[in-house]
């Protein structure tokens, strides 16, 4: 579904990502882990088009994304739940979800999507009239996820959904994500600092360090790898 090949990208002449290759197949749950500053967020932004691509290619379904302007990529079926939530603070919860459904598919499926989103994340239904800027961090994260789901995506990209949240809330959100994926069968690409949880539930994982993929494999091989155990799992 998503094929990234020999990708280089960055903000200045010096690229942040150097020859990154990643593949996500339909229905897969793929996790990307790595230390702070490795380039995980930059990778997501390059897929979404808010960071320019310097070399290599990104193909989504049958389209070369280089020829698709950033705002059209959501319409192809890519939902990006960005790092730090980035909900629209002066819009209500409901309006945020409506903006999630800005794509053609999102509008078409609005009624059934909103029902499912409210069932998965009931707090959003309770708070539907509240301004998103006044939600707690955990609620904002759930809204960001709901907003992503509202677009009827083919690929859901989540950038550190546990960032800055209390462990209990982060656990809850993680559990919700697993449940959402189990019920919907969505293809998910997840960036996460909670390496143990991420690798446990993912089909396939990549370890990104200093802008390069240093390790990849299915969850068993990764969790058995000595380097991963030492550096990320603290074993």
């Amino acid at each position: 579904m998503l094929r990234i090949e020999a990708l280089s990208a960055g903000y200045t002449a010096v690229p942040v990502l150097n020859g990154v290759s990643i593949a996500v197949d339909e229905g897969q749950f793929v996790a990307i882990v790595g230390p702070n500053g490795a380039g995980k967020t930059t990778l997501f932004k390059t897929i979404s088009g808010t960071v320019g691509l310097m070399a290599g290619s990104i193909r989504f379904l049958d389209t070369d994304l280089a020829s698709v302007p950033p705002h059209r990529r959501a319409h192809l079926g890519i939902a990006h739940v960005p790092e730090g939530r980035q909900v629209f603070p002066s819009l209500t919860v409901m309006e945020n979800l409506e903006m999630g459904a800005y794509t053609e598919a999102g509008r078409r499926d609005w009624t059934s999507n909103i029902e499912r989103i409210f069932a998965w994340l009931p707090v959003l239904a309770e708070r539907r009239g509240q301004l998103a800027g006044t939600l707690s961090g955990g609620e904002q994260q759930m809204l960001a996820i709901g907003r992503g789901l509202a677009s009827s995506p083919k690929l859901l990209m989540l950038d550190e959904p546990s960032m800055g949240l209390a462990p209990a809330i982060a656990d809850f959100i993680f559990e919700r994500l697993i449940e959402i994926r189990r019920q919907s069968g969505l293809t998910v690409l997840l960036v996460e600092q909670r390496v143990a949880e991420a690798l446990e539930s993912a089909d396939h994982g990549y370890v990104l360090e200093m802008g390069r993929v240093v390790l990849e494999g299915n969850n068993k091989t990764l969790r058995a790898d000595d380097r991963v155990r030492q550096a990320y799992l603290g074993m």
Binding site: R73, F88, P89, S90, M99, T103, S151
Partner: protein, 315 residues
């Protein structure tokens, strides 16, 4: 007599305030909602006034629709012209200093916007002087010299006169604002404009074309302010530098109403109209503008977020 004078000044204040409110709403879209500083807003209004004037007097609107209806038809026709003007100005110039391009900069590109739009303002003022001349003109209608009498109220003592063209202008202003407020609050377009203003990057992830949203908002803001200008032109003679007088009123109104609130901007403009007219009861006319700013400072001092300001920060 005292009561009559007061009611008359109050009426004049409400009428003036409605038009000021409308101008402020135009700026509120650009400055309050999209957070773009536009010093040429008063000059956009001036263009709207001349557009209405030429459509009315030279391009057949007066001949077709007459002296009573004609001015309003001209204002209506000038509106899409100013929308297009704002849209193009944004596309060609202002877009270079707004949106995703400057979101990460210190001050979100406000310095560049200030200089750029100040430049546009000067070009419009001086260009206007060359094209239109500096003779005072107005959109002439007999309505501006006749009035409705309300009353006599309280027996035979008190009655209030409402100038017809100003009365109509106030009604058109309020209707325009109501329509715009609905557009911004309820429609998909309106919500996408607010989303793009809140967080351009996240808006892009939703599939919103942010630059396009900004152009639409800028065009709408120019069009709304030009409606106010056209209505004003039926009452007041004007010349190419008139924008300067009103751009200050507009910024004061938007800040008074609370940044980001469309309805707030209307009440901000209304407050300015009321203070201006009511102050004539106790102060000499030369001090009208001083009175406005004393009240402005007082309100901003007591309630820095404005009447309708929300204390929600952008993330």
């Amino acid at each position: 007599m005292m009561l009559e004078n007061f009611l008359q000044a109050l009426t004049a204040g409400i009428l003036a305030g409605s038009i000021y409110g409308l101008m402020c709403v135009g700026l509120a879209l650009i400055f309050g909602v999209m957070r773009v500083i536009n010093f040429a807003q008063g000059d956009f209004m001036m263009l709207g006034m001349y557009a209405a004037y030429y459509l009315f007097a030279a391009l057949g609107v007066q001949a077709t629709f007459g002296d009573n209806l004609g001015p309003y038809v001209a204002v209506g026709l000038a509106t899409p012209l100013l929308f297009a003007f704002g849209y193009v100005i944004h596309r060609v110039l202002v877009s270079r200093v707004t949106g995703a391009r400057t979101a990460a900069l210190e001050g979100e590109g406000h310095y560049a916007q200030l200089i750029l739009t100040l430049g546009i303002a000067l070009i419009l003022q001086n260009g206007g002087q060359i094209l239109f001349g500096s003779v005072l003109v107005s959109v002439r209608t007999p309505l501006s010299s006749s009035a409705w009498e309300i009353g006599p109220l309280w027996g035979d003592f008190v009655s209030v006169f409402v100038n017809k063209s100003r009365g109509i202008a106030a009604v058109v202003s309020v209707a325009t604002i109501a329509a715009l407020a609905l557009l911004i609050a309820r429609t998909r377009l309106g919500k996408s404009l607010r989303a793009a203003a809140d967080n351009p990057e996240a808006a892009t992830y939703m599939g919103i074309e942010v630059d396009h949203a900004y152009r639409i908002a800028f065009g709408l803001g120019a069009a709304i302010t030009s409606v106010a200008g056209g209505l004003l032109a039926t009452n007041y003679p004007f010349q190419p530098h008139i924008g300067l007088e009103y751009v200050i009123v507009m910024y004061a109104g938007v800040v008074l109403g609370g940044m980001g609130s469309i309805i707030g901007a209307f009440w901000g403009g209304m407050a300015i109209g009321l203070v201006q007219q009511l102050s004539t009861l106790v102060l000499p006319t030369q001090l009208q503008n001083a009175a406005i700013f004393v009240v402005f400072l007082l309100i901003v001092f007591l309630r820095p977020q404005g009447f309708f300001g929300r204390v929600v920060e952008r993330t």
